[in-house]
């Protein structure tokens, strides 16, 4: 982002005021003085070394110290220093040592607060959140007992760039804690003053992560989590929870706790909790972690006033369920945790979604201000001897404190063809990248090895650096001496240094053999195809169409609407049917949207920017050419085989109950007693996931019924109530309205039988009540099952058609769970709605706009660039055996006729570079560029050495 030509980053800056209206805002910014001239600072941190003032490090939760002049954190953009108010000169007009030691004269104490005015068309508020401060409640003993820390403190302790370089140490004695306890719901799910009534939604899972990481730090550690419901409702979270729970020495206790006392000698902390078998117990822990919840951003009211937006009762941005990105002021959008407690994937949906809505607003002047990067012409070095430059990165202390970086630099200089080598603090910092490209030019380098981290994240940046230097970007190799070396050999410094040298030697060997490769631009067809006409598909289609692109919307049913046709309201009171009617009307009215209902897709071919898909409907077979495809085919409802479902008509699913409530079905209205059973068809061996929405849906139905018939007895049998986020309030409301909640264990499921007693036909539900410690029999007129949301039967077919993958539970698998949650690994294909994973309507809308945002990123360009690392065929060697064609799952290779006979040829756009064809070709005629035999063999030779 820091390098994007169309993004200007203003750090250390606050918004002062916002005037104007959507399309034309005047925003006044206050740029605080950082006392550093940004263009001159190289981030060398010499000033930090010499600064005499120690000041609690804000980034590291004030656990360790930083200096008055410092870089805020290791990956900061820009990676340069600033001076804070603890500076001696700023306070008392003395010192100025930093000025004296800065070789670039980058320090400027004359900087003043600066007002900057910018003119923008739209605003996105991504102001984030503030962790709950447990100091507001004395009972948490935070700040009083030194070994009681918050989860944010602990997060920093776990981190390699944390206060103790990734060592978990107790502040009291600088020793590793052996017994650690986590207390859940600190500041959340509590109506006591100063705390929040909502569920913070992320704490259960981050605690599990911290437990797993703690066990990775110290396999012998004993970890105990005291919790209420475990809310692992996100995609793959159930498995993650099981993984944490099943680690040796890890205990999960369902109990409220109190922090009782501190051991005066050891400063260890005693906790009192209750167990079902042994009653109240006390236990001492070396460290206690408070799993703090999420609060609205600091001074949220001031923020709201500045931007002229309204807040909800909890102090987060007031949002409407049908468009959670909209604020109450047109032209101002919201994304991320300011919407309410959210985790990373959701924040990414909403970020992209807010982007798409800005696009809708400003599309008419798209591209007018955009700038493009211009690179110097590429120097042809293919005839030159290799002249390699090696840059070894310290990664702050990540690499440098384990690997002897200077000695690897010396070693690199002894390797063949290496003409230059040096160390760098952070090779990825803007100034370091600049240095690499400058030195490449100055020293006449024609190949570069960066010994730093995994190529996964930063290879694009360094390739760009080579382009800046006028060298083909494929003349780069990254030697991963962080993930593959320093991070895993923290205790063996000497061996780690030797290994780093070995890795560098391998990279140097490979880089000699690398070939310059050309990426090429493909035209992009500006049309989109959206598969699935539910709420997600329609929302996505509409947002794309509103930005000037034609959309083909394909629905398998006769009508648009999907699962939402069976849903009548949401927990927060949205009238789903009215919303749906309005959405369908907008779809049909939009001139750029073409709807195909009762349609199937017999064939889909092509690739990013250039797909051809056949759609079969009552209009016959239509061939659609499109540049992007969105998969939004929804999901199915599990048809239960348990609890007499299908055998007794008084047993129904949650969705069926909802429909019957909406229709005013008499037997539902007049029922005296109704039981709901949660987790039917999921959180089991067959479907090891939580269907996420059922708990809230049961609460919704229960509240609806209580409204209609307050005397109805309603009992909900649950495993963990997962009414995360603001839904927690409705759970509480249901409980207050006398809806009974009884927890059951998966190994002791409720039993249901149909009996007749005194002439009344009833369903008898037997369940063990763990609080009362005995079996209860509930006589119900009706039974509603929270039947799981299950992957659509069409997923497999769709995954084959569009060459996208499914995860272990058959949900569509996004390119990256956290960072790329609305796109597939296959370029040009996107994902939204419950085809991705069960979710509530507002969440599906978030993701639908998010997918639209990603689609626009593709369609708004005229061309798309294809990788240079694809396969190619040496026709002289090809014997047209077809081995490569059989093994290619992407259909990227085909035969074509040449004067020398039939030969294989690769469509470079379809080739994904897996290279399977290489290892089956009997004549080595096909070769994966950038991973060719000689390149890899040279690495093997360099790794093993000679006999």
């Amino acid at each position: 982002m820091g390098r994007h030509p169309n993004i200007e980053v203003l750090t250390y800056t606050e918004v002062d005021s916002v005037e104007g209206e959507a399309g034309d805002f005047k925003v006044t910014l206050i740029k605080k003085p950082r006392y550093i001239i940004e263009s001159k600072c190289t981030g060398c941190t010499t000033c930090v070394e010499y600064c005499p003032v120690k000041y609690p490090d804000q980034y590291n939760q004030e656990i360790s110290d930083n200096k008055a002049v410092h870089v805020y954190f290791a990956q900061a953009i820009p990676l340069i220093t600033y001076i804070d108010e603890s500076c001696l000169y700023l306070k008392e007009k003395k010192c100025r040592i930093c000025e004296a030691v800065c070789k670039n004269n980058a320090i400027d104490f004359n900087q003043k607060l600066e007002k900057v005015e910018v003119n923008v068309g739209a605003i996105i508020l991504s102001s984030g959140l503030e962790p709950f401060d447990p100091k507001v409640k004395e009972e948490y003993r935070y700040g009083q007992f030194v070994n009681v820390v918050t989860s944010m403190d602990y997060e920093r302790l776990l981190c390699a760039t944390g206060p103790y370089q990734g060592e978990i140490l107790r502040a009291s004695d600088m020793k590793h804690p052996h017994k650690v306890a986590w207390l859940q719901c600190v500041g959340s799910r509590r109506v006591t003053p100063g705390e929040n009534s909502y569920c913070s939604a992320v704490c259960c899972t981050y605690t599990q992560k911290q437990v797993i990481l703690t066990k990775e730090h110290d396999a012998e550690a004993e970890c105990t989590v005291f919790h209420n419901d475990i809310r692992s409702y996100g995609k793959d979270f159930e498995r993650f929870y099981e993984r944490a729970e099943n680690l040796p020495g890890v205990r999960f206790f369902r109990s409220y706790v109190s922090i009782v006392k501190e051991n005066p000698e050891t400063q260890s902390v005693t906790i009192r909790y209750s167990t079902p078998d042994e009653g109240v117990k006390e236990e001492e822990f070396d460290m206690v972690v408070l799993s703090v919840g999420l609060n609205p951003p600091a001074d949220v009211q001031g923020l709201a006033n500045k931007f002229g937006i309204e807040l909800n009762a909890h102090g987060f941005c007031k949002a409407i369920p049908s468009n959670p990105m909209e604020t109450t002021r047109p032209g101002i959008f919201v994304s991320g945790a300011f919407q309410g407690p959210t985790d990373i994937p959701e924040s990414v949906f909403t970020a992209s979604a807010a982007g798409s809505q800005c696009g809708e607003l400003l599309d008419y002047r798209r591209g007018e201000l955009s700038k493009e990067r211009i690179y110097p012409p590429e120097r042809d070095v293919s005839q030159e001897e290799p002249r390699i430059g090696v840059f070894v990165c310290h990664c702050g202390a990540n690499i440098g404190r384990i690997v002897g970086v200077p000695s690897t630099v010396e070693y690199a200089l002894t390797l063949p063809n290496v003409v230059y080598a040096q160390e760098q603090l952070f090779s990825c910092a803007t100034n370091s990248a600049q240095q690499i490209s400058d030195l490449t030019k100055e020293k006449g380098l024609n190949r570069v090895v960066i010994a730093a981290c995994s190529p996964r994240t930063l290879e694009p940046l360094f390739r760009d650096t080579l382009r800046e230097a006028g060298i083909n970007q494929y003349y780069l190799d990254m030697a991963n001496i962080r993930e593959h070396c320093s991070w895993v050999h923290a205790k063996e410094k000497e061996e780690a240094t030797q290994k780093a040298k070995d890795i560098i030697r391998m990279s140097v060997a490979r880089v000699c053999r690398l070939k310059p490769l050309q990426e090429f631009d493909l035209p992009v067809n500006k049309t989109a195809l959206v598969v699935g006409g539910g709420i997600a598909g329609m929302t996505c289609a509409l947002s794309i169409a509103k930005q000037g692109h034609e959309v083909y919307l394909v629905e398998k049913d006769a009508d648009l609407g999907g699962t939402a046709r069976r849903i009548h309201s949401t927990l927060d009171g949205m009238d789903v049917q009215a919303y749906l009617r309005d959405l369908v009307r907008k779809i049909y009215q939009h001139p750029l949207i073409h709807v195909y209902t009762d349609a199937t897709i017999p064939e889909a071919t092509g690739y990013v920017g250039n797909f051809v898909t056949k759609v079969k409907s009552d209009r016959g077979v239509t061939e659609i050419k499109h540049g992007a495809a969105v998969i939004a085919i929804g999901a199915d409802e599990y048809k239960p085989t348990e609890y007499l479902y299908g055998k007794d008509d008084r047993v129904m699913t949650n969705l069926e109950l909802e429909e019957q409530i909406a229709q005013g079905e008499e037997r539902v209205m007049n029922a005296q007693s109704l039981v709901m059973i949660q987790c039917v068809g999921c959180r089991n061996e067959d479907r090891n996931y939580c269907a996420r929405i059922c708990c809230s849906n049961s609460v919704k139905n229960a509240l609806k019924l209580k409204e209609i018939n307050p005397r109805m007895d309603i009992t909900i049998l649950f495993r963990d109530m997962r009414t995360y986020g603001f839904s927690e309030d409705y759970y509480r409301e249901a409980s207050n309205k006398d809806v009974k909640f009884i927890r059951y264990e998966p190994q002791d499921k409720p039993q249901v039988e149909a009996v007749e007693e005194e002439g009344r036909r009833i369903l008898r539900v037997t369940v063990t009540d763990y609080i009362l410690g005995k079996k209860l029999a509930i006589d119900a007129d009706l039974l509603s099952l929270a039947a799981a949301v299950i992957p659509s039967a069409g997923n497999k077919e769709m995954s084959l058609l569009f060459k996208v993958s499914l995860g272990p539970d058959d949900w569509f698998k996004e390119a990256h769970v956290k960072l790329r949650p609305v796109e597939f690994g296959t370029d040009g294909v996107y994902l939204c709605g419950i085809a991705h994973y069960p979710k509530h309507i507002p969440e599906a809308i978030n993701q639908a706009y998010g997918a639209a945002g990603r689609v626009l990123t593709l369609l708004s360009h005229d061309t798309v660039t294809a990788s240079g690392s694809v396969c190619e065929v040496d026709e002289d060697k090809c014997i047209s055996c077809g081995a490569c064609i059989t093994v290619c799952t992407y259909g990227a290779i085909e035969f074509y006729d040449t004067p020398q006979g039939r030969k294989a040829t690769v469509n470079p756009v379809l080739c994904k570079g897996d290279g399977l064809c290489n290892s089956v070709c009997p004549t080595a005629a096909i070769s994966l560029k950038h991973f060719a035999d000689e390149e890899l063999l040279s690495q093997i030779d360099a790794a093993v050495g000679d006999f």
Binding site: G825, D914, D933, L937, V944, D946
Partner: protein, 212 residues
């Protein structure tokens, strides 16, 4: 680049250069990030390579494959520690098996020469559609596989080794059988078929076979 790109020739190259062990790590089976499931190709290659190693007298335990995800740091560390220990126990390549260095090189060279042929055979006769580790184990330890291996590869490998020997100097049938540990009748059979194909000729004066 997928695990399936890890080629038989890469593994042979590492052993030829004196590596005492080769370890391949792939994504978990049936959890391919793409749609290729190339790790099964790697698994198949490993089985075949182990068989070849066994055939030329190398301990097949020197070649290992495991499947794990990027999130399984602890498992990875455990497996690597195990492997380090195991490779140390196996001892130096060749010496531990009692093969001298020169013979070892020649054997590996012979297998390497055969790689194009093995690829053809693998595709035609040894490719299996299975989708689990167990099914691979069963197939590659079955009599059926043994039969195919003997029928398709063993003779070719012997001939490949003979050709490499003859490249250095002409040799008699007896001498060849001594060096390669084959019976003289087997060697005669190979020499007959090779001379029919015009690959070798018999030098009457020296009572030796030489390359044609």
């Amino acid at each position: 680049m997928c695990t399936g790109r890890v080629d038989l020739s890469f593994v042979l190259r590492a052993f030829s250069k004196g590596a005492d062990g080769v370890f391949i790590i792939g994504c978990r089976l049936n959890e391919c990030n793409y749609i290729t499931h190339g790790n099964f190709h790697a698994l198949s290659m490993v089985h075949l390579c182990k068989k070849l190693m066994e055939h030329i007298g190398l301990n097949p335990a020197r070649l290992m494959i495991e499947f794990m995800s990027g999130g399984e740091g602890i498992l990875f560390a455990e497996v690597m520690d195990d492997i380090g220990k195991k490779v140390n126990e196996l001892g130096p390549l060749g010496k531990a098996e009692g093969i001298d260095e020169k013979a070892l090189r020649a054997k590996l060279e012979a297998v390497t020469q055969l790689v194009p042929y093995i690829r053809l055979v693998e595709r035609e006769r040894l490719r299996i559609p299975f989708k689990s580790e167990d099914e691979f184990d069963t197939f590659f330890t079955s009599d059926e596989f043994n039969r195919l291996f003997n029928e398709l590869i063993v003779d070719k490998l012997a001939i490949s080794q003979i050709m490499l020997l003859l490249r250095e100097r002409p040799l008699s049938t007896v001498k060849i059988s001594e060096i390669l540990g084959l019976t003289p009748s087997e060697v005669s059979r190979h020499m007959n078929s090779s001379s029919r194909q015009g690959l070798v000729r018999y030098d009457e004066s020296r009572k030796c076979f030489a390359l044609a």
